[in-house]
Symmetry: D2
Subunit: 390 residues, 4 copies
């Protein structure tokens, strides 16, 4: 609370996409309101604010269609900015959604030539990411889906999706790159319904890949929340499967357009449990912000936005630390039976004898039903912790 150090530092591993601070405020109903930001400037400003690194789509840095020499010059100049500031590029990704050529899909486009173009663009972008030091490569299938379900057989689409991811893995293995892939699910927007709509669907998909160990998840707060799902539960299930490879932090209200608000500005309770989970589980990856400033903002507002994302994370991390040492919370957890969940249900396993023993057990159903779990007390303690009054 008062006294908490809210200064972001590189060791906090805060990263931003170039496209986040670089967002110019265009939306479905309005034109750009802010000038373009030079990626080199973005690196310097973010470094000054205490960030650890920046992430990028291929086209965020190198305009689509640039010649090889233009590309190299751009990359070299950007490289110098990284070196000057000590910033790094932990994650890279491909823009497979802006160009008109991808309007019907990219990896799952009906037209095989479009799919091949998408794949070639991705391999180029992987090279760029690796050159910049990225160890995680995100795949978001922004155009993989339909409005007219008749137009695309879902099972064939998943075949093609798998083929594309397998091909990228083959390439990375062949090149000997130290790079893992992280799938980013999203339920809808820009398509009516998108494939791999939630963390769960993507986790299941990974199991069908040729090298499942190379592919994990990049869950995004806004994307799960659009469907009304708990983001912290989604992240926890990723951890349970050992598949949390990256994370996108922002804010969103349920059942709305993709808002990508400043982290913690909406849904602060879910944000708190997410931060608590990352901190408690010893997550050593990035705290990546995939958000953008309100369209009301000028250039100053962009940096207020970036700083705000990091400060809120630090506030919530401090609350998570207080949670661990608060004796009333500990007592309420005990009353809720939370520690009991670690005890196995079948401590002697599930062989015939153990099952037979279970079936002769007598249960005092009335007594078990009478137990109160003090969840109201616990929840109120968390509320007051979060609101800074304990």
């Amino acid at each position: 609370m008062a006294g908490t150090d809210l200064t972001p530092r590189p060791e906090h591993h805060f990263t931003f996409g170039l496209w986040t601070v670089g967002n110019r405020g265009r939306d479905p109903f309005g034109h750009e309101v802010r000038p373009a930001i030079d990626p080199v400037d973005a690196v310097h400003r973010l470094a000054d604010l205490g960030a650890y690194g920046v992430n990028l789509h291929d086209d965020d840095l190198v305009p689509h269609g640039a010649s090889a020499s233009e590309r190299d010059a751009i990359v070299a100049r950007f490289r110098r900015a990284l070196d000057d500031t000590g910033m790094c590029v932990p994650m890279a990704t491909t823009n497979l959604f802006s160009l008109p050529v991808f309007k019907e899909g990219a990896f799952c486009a009906n037209d095989p030539a479009v799919r091949r173009f998408a794949l070639a663009k991705t391999l180029d972008a992987i090279d760029l990411g690796v050159e910049l030091g990225a160890r995680t490569y995100v795949m978001w299938g922004g155009r993989e889906g339909t409005e007219c379900d008749a137009a695309k057989d879902v099972r064939l689409a998943l075949d093609r999706y798998k083929e594309a991811v397998d091909t990228c893995c083959a390439y990375v293995r062949d090149q000997g790159h130290d790079l893992r892939f992280a799938l980013e699910p999203k339920p809808n927007e820009p398509r009516g319904d998108m494939y791999l709509p939630t963390v769960g669907h993507a986790l299941a998909f990974v199991n069908e890949l040729e090298w499942p160990e190379m592919v994990g998840l990049n869950p995004e707060f806004a994307h799960e929340t659009m469907s009304g799902l708990s983001f912290n539960h989604a992240v926890a299930q990723c951890l349970w499967h050992d598949k949390l490879f990256h994370i996108d932090l922002n804010a969103q209200r349920i059942g709305k357009f993709d808002q990508d608000f400043r982290f913690g500005s909406e849904g602060v309770r879910d944000a708190f449990y997410t931060v608590k989970l990352l901190e408690d589980s010893g997550w050593d990856g990035m705290r990546h912000f995939d958000a953008h400033p309100y369209r009301t903002e000028d250039a100053d507002g962009v940096w207020d936005f970036a700083l705000g994302c990091m400060r809120t994370y630090l506030v919530l991390a401090a609350a998570a630390r207080r949670f661990r040492t608060d004796p009333e919370i500990a007592a309420a957890l005990e009353a809720a039976g939370a520690p009991q969940l670690a005890s196995p249900t079948m401590p002697d396993g599930a062989d015939a004898a153990a099952i037979a023993s279970l079936r002769t057990e007598r249960f005092d159903e009335t007594a078990l039903a009478a137990r109160g779990y003090a969840n109201e007390r616990l929840d109120q303690l968390v509320t007051e912790l979060l609101l800074g009054v304990r």
Copy 2:
């Protein structure tokens, strides 16, 4: 359209839960409005309407707490009704949500004694289901979740969930039963957030089980739709993973309480694509209706409801057949490139040579971007097909 035979017959494999036609109209704000229906009467009425079978929770047939002899008498009498009518019980399940003892969870309850009670109740219910001939056993975790996320560690909860399912599988293997399990996901209600909230999360979970081949999915129209997800996409992904073990058909509007309306009464477009998918993929399982009559209905309305579910399925199945033979639709599918999705992206595989070849390929991006996919035409044709004007 006119002339379509809409008479349900056993070969259509329509089934209903005892709890569906037996629903008495209680809701969070109101008391029961209809008398209880004797399960034996339900069997006869559904048989008369052309259904193939009935499904049940343990407590739907045998009241909780019945003695062994009471149970046997009830089962014997029910068995006779099945024999008299030729009806069967293809699926059974456990009620792990109504009793106060399960208020904090069942397989994932914090209290180990509650978990053991839930498991023992399930094993009894498996015996009942097998005795009645069930080959599919559904698991819906109605109380597995939280309102206060601090009260339960999701990763431990998933450990306990896995332990319970593995134990049930061990029991079934040990007994030599011919029985498979089907997990039924749901995002919320009655809990604030539930574990395995979507088809995707449950598919992923299955991969961590000890005998994953014994466990598949029971997707429910209403449950996926509550989250705003496409149900037909969810069913297709189940099929893609070879994990469609059962299906729950009903109707629901997005972002509402669990409505369980008559199949096809809401969301008829998604219902059509679901029926089309089941029919096109040669699904040989049940068409199970997990719905209930409006609370406005008396006893007659119950059977109108049941008949309506089946008739709408038959209307949609007929539309799916017309879809396959409609020449304008075939032309629009061609224009949409739908058949092209079956062609691999990398026909020669993804070895180094194939990848190198891909990277030297020249793409006419402008031409690819200019292509129109006629999805409006196709979608309108489907709309008119569905509305019976073609």
Copy 3:
């Protein structure tokens, strides 16, 4: 069904916004995919398809910043296209959302200069609309709202909103124009939360205006549906208040980004009840489509889209006619008690004697509770009517 004449004709009063067929497929994640359409071409193509008129924002026809002589030349050329085709412009509106100057609001902007600019632009646009023959002027407050609620006092914002609408009314009265205003509610997007978010809020707002008789509603299918509200109920409440001044028809799924899909492509049941209501109530206004083609489409797809909107309306209108003459539906309506709702509850009024009489009345509560309302049967009949099998 088969045999229904689905040819759109001017007497059906179908209209399209220039911005609908002119939509170029830009979205938050992608660039334009279709070339701009000359408004004159749009008029010709829509006339060929059987439309009655076109509607427009000021900037749809006259680019912002055009000189007076440029404007006059554009208008004259457009006028000729209208004359050549017999098309008209029944409705006009102002674009108060695309320009960066409106990023914080227009009529409710915090900065008074922005508000005055918005008002001046609107008065110019009213002149343009009136010059083209418009009798209805729509007001959609695309930027009136907030993401940060602290930034704007809602009550002051409503004061300013009222001031702007009153000023426009004063101008129209002063000019003697035959023009009415129609407010278009929307809950969110592009702003986090928008003022006058539903039909209800706008209806209430009208009552506080200086000339409430000059202002009504322009309900939009997509906008009410985004909030999960029934569109046909909203239109009915507008009619009940005698405030249906215009209507925007399209399609949308609940809890998603603003989709503006082809009319009837989603939510066909609500679309049917809306068409039925318009037809049954003798609505003599426009059937305006505020939708846009999928981004997958080329120029041909645009006209498939436009034709599809109109054809689906005609299909649904034909179903509404069959509804009125179907004897089984009539019987089900009777069983549902639908005609009884026209009988007053207090046929002798609510004076002291009538109330005293009511209070001594004896009710057979058991008999009243036992009545079944046959809503399942009725609803299934409507479903089958809609699916073309009756």
Copy 4:
């Protein structure tokens, strides 16, 4: 923050429904888990916790069907509890939703006898409320709506709704009671779609009543939030129309079943702005909690729940006070232009001269568009205020 006095006291005007602490934990999937609470005990416990009063439905206190003498004995005993504790009953209402007789509606039931029964029950309940001192009478139309839209004409339903409210007003006027009515909107649940679904629709409806001055609104946090609407905006619009007559505070996530969670447990940002609005506007009415304890709770949890509602309100009220005196927030409000919204757009009115003057005004559109509104900074300051770090 630390040091804030969080002790509820009668002067805070906190009230609870008897049905809230008396909620027994029944839900659509489960039986009651807690014993019934004697209303007299509820009064004593709530008084001990610092509440000001209790509110009730007729049947909460007097079981439906009680004889006149039973009723009088119950009321007298309850009256003594109020006198002993100094508690009062500021609001009363009618249960028109639990009994089977209301399954098809109450004031808008198709059957006129049901409507008359509903009205008679309401008049009795008004007498009870007035006898207990209530000055506000809430009307929630829990069964007014449809699943099958064909079954009920919305316009006729609104006629009947108006007739019922007008009759109640006539009765109250005739009796000379000092009682106002407050309509409580809700979008759905238990009905598929309900009439007067939002605050806006109810505000509009009031204008058509015979004595609109007697009828205002009882907005509920959960009900507006179910539709994804901003609750604080809804309350502000009620205040703008001078129609905030009562308020129901609780918590809810968007697009879910009606959760009625402890105030502030979800949506704390909207809760904060609501408290800030009530406190800033000098609201002198009740802070009524219409929520219920989680089903995990035993009797102790019920009182933890009640205390938590009040404590969170006090935390948020304290934050609202700090908001008013925080100099950085004041500076950010200035930068956002918030105070400018109080300036009229047309300071000289809207006569022809003022309008002519507006139209000759020159605007520096570029400069106006360049202005930044510092909403990110302001929003972050509010976030940090709310999280207790400033």
